[in-house]
Symmetry: C2
Subunit: 191 residues, 2 copies
C-alpha cells in the first residue's frame, strides 16, 4: 500500500531482493547473514528470510513434496514483495530447487529488483560439510525427499551471480555480492 | 535471523505492531494509511499489511470459512513478526473477527510490541458507508460469510485502544494513535 518512493527517501537507498538458491550446505544462510551484516554496517535497511526459520512459522504447515516446496517458494516470494514495498533489501536463503518456482518469484518484481544468486557448490562438498547432519540422515533413509539425494535440484539457467563457495572465501563472495548490488542500491525511482 | 537491536540502531526507533481490527467499513485501511503517512513523515520505518491486498498475494488461496480466516490471521501475524524482526513498525488492517486468532497473533510478540486497536463503529454506520458496496451484496445474499451480516465478529475484550470512528475525525484518531505509540517507539532494547 505504501509508496516505495517515500520509503526510499527516508532510507536513502533502493529496495531489492537477493535470492540465494543452492543445495543444503552450500552456504546460503552463512552468506545471507554475512551480507545482512555488511549491508547494515553500510546503513542499508535489510531483512533476512531464511527457509529453515520460515518453516518454524509462516510455513510450518508445509512438508517437502514438490507441491509444498512450490508453496514454500511462493509464500516466501510474496513476503519478499511486501518487504520490498516497505523499502527493504530482502535477503532470501532458500534451497528453492524448482526453476519454475524461482521464475515465478522473479516475476513479482521489476527488472533490477531481483537478484538470483546460485551457490554452485558440488554435492560432494555440501555432503562433506553436512553442517546439520542432514545428508547423513538422508543417506540412511531417515529423511525422504532430500534435495541432492532423493529429490532433484534444477540448476539456474540465467542466475544474476554464481558463487563457487568451495573456491572462494566468505569475504571474496561478499565482495562479489556487494559489487553486484551497488548499482541497484543507488538506483532511485525519485530524484 | 537479524538482531532487532542492530536494526534499531540504524532506524533510531523501536519496532512494534499496530493491529487494526473491526468490521468492514469501520475505517481500518483509511486509518492504517493515515498512520503510515504520519509515521513516515516523522522518519519512522513502516510497513502496511492490508487484508484486502494480502488476499491478492500471500493469502490468495484462502476463502472466508472460519478456518481460512484463522489461517489468514496466522499468516499475517507471522509476516508481521518477520517485519518486526527487521525493525519496522508494522501496521495491520484486517477484520480478524475471531478473538482466539487475535490472541494468537499477540502471543508472537513481547509485551509493548503489539497494539490491538479496535475500531468500534456500529454496524449501521459501516453499512451506510459501504465503501466497497459489499454490505449491499451481502444483504442480497451475493456474498456468503460476511462479517456482521452472515458471520460473527467477536468484540475485543482488552484492546490497547478503542476508536469510535463515527464520532472522531481522522485527525483525532491519529492523535490518539500517535500518543499510544510514542512511548513504544522511544523504547530501546539497546542504549
Amino acid at each position: 500500500m505504501s509508496s516505495p518512493c517515500q520509503h526510499e527517501l527516508i532510507k536513502r537507498h533502493a529496495a531489492c531482493v537477493v535470492w540465494f538458491t543452492g543445495l543444503s550446505g552450500a552456504g546460503k544462510t552463512t552468506l545471507a547473514l554475512a551480507l545482512d551484516d555488511a549491508l547494515r554496517c553500510r546503513g542499508v535497511h535489510t531483512a533476512v528470510l531464511d527457509g529453515d526459520s520460515l518453516r518454524l512459522g509462516l510455513n510450518s504447515d508445509l512438508g517437502f513434496s514438490p507441491e509444498d516446496r512450490a508453496t514454500n517458494v511462493r509464500r516466501t516470494a510474496q513476503v519478499s514483495k511486501l518487504m520490498l514495498d516497505a523499502g527493504l533489501v530482502v535477503i532470501v536463503s532458500l534451497i528453492s530447487p524448482q526453476a519454475e518456482s524461482r521464475d515465478q518469484a522473479r516475476s513479482l518484481f521489476n527488472a533490477n529488483q531481483f537478484f538470483e544468486v546460485y551457490l554452485n557448490t558440488p554435492l560432494a562438498v555440501c555432503e562433506q560439510r553436512d553442517p546439520k547432519g542432514l545428508y547423513q540422515l538422508a543417506r540412511g533413509g531417515d529423511i525422504a525427499q532430500f534435495t541432492g539425494i532423493s529429490a532433484g535440484y534444477e540448476v539456474p539457467a540465467n542466475p544474476d551471480l554464481v558463487l563457487q563457495t568451495h573456491q572462494y572465501t566468505i569475504s571474496e563472495c561478499l565482495e562479489r555480492l556487494l559489487a553486484m548490488l551497488e548499482p541497484a542500491l543507488k538506483r532511485r525511482s525519485v530524484n
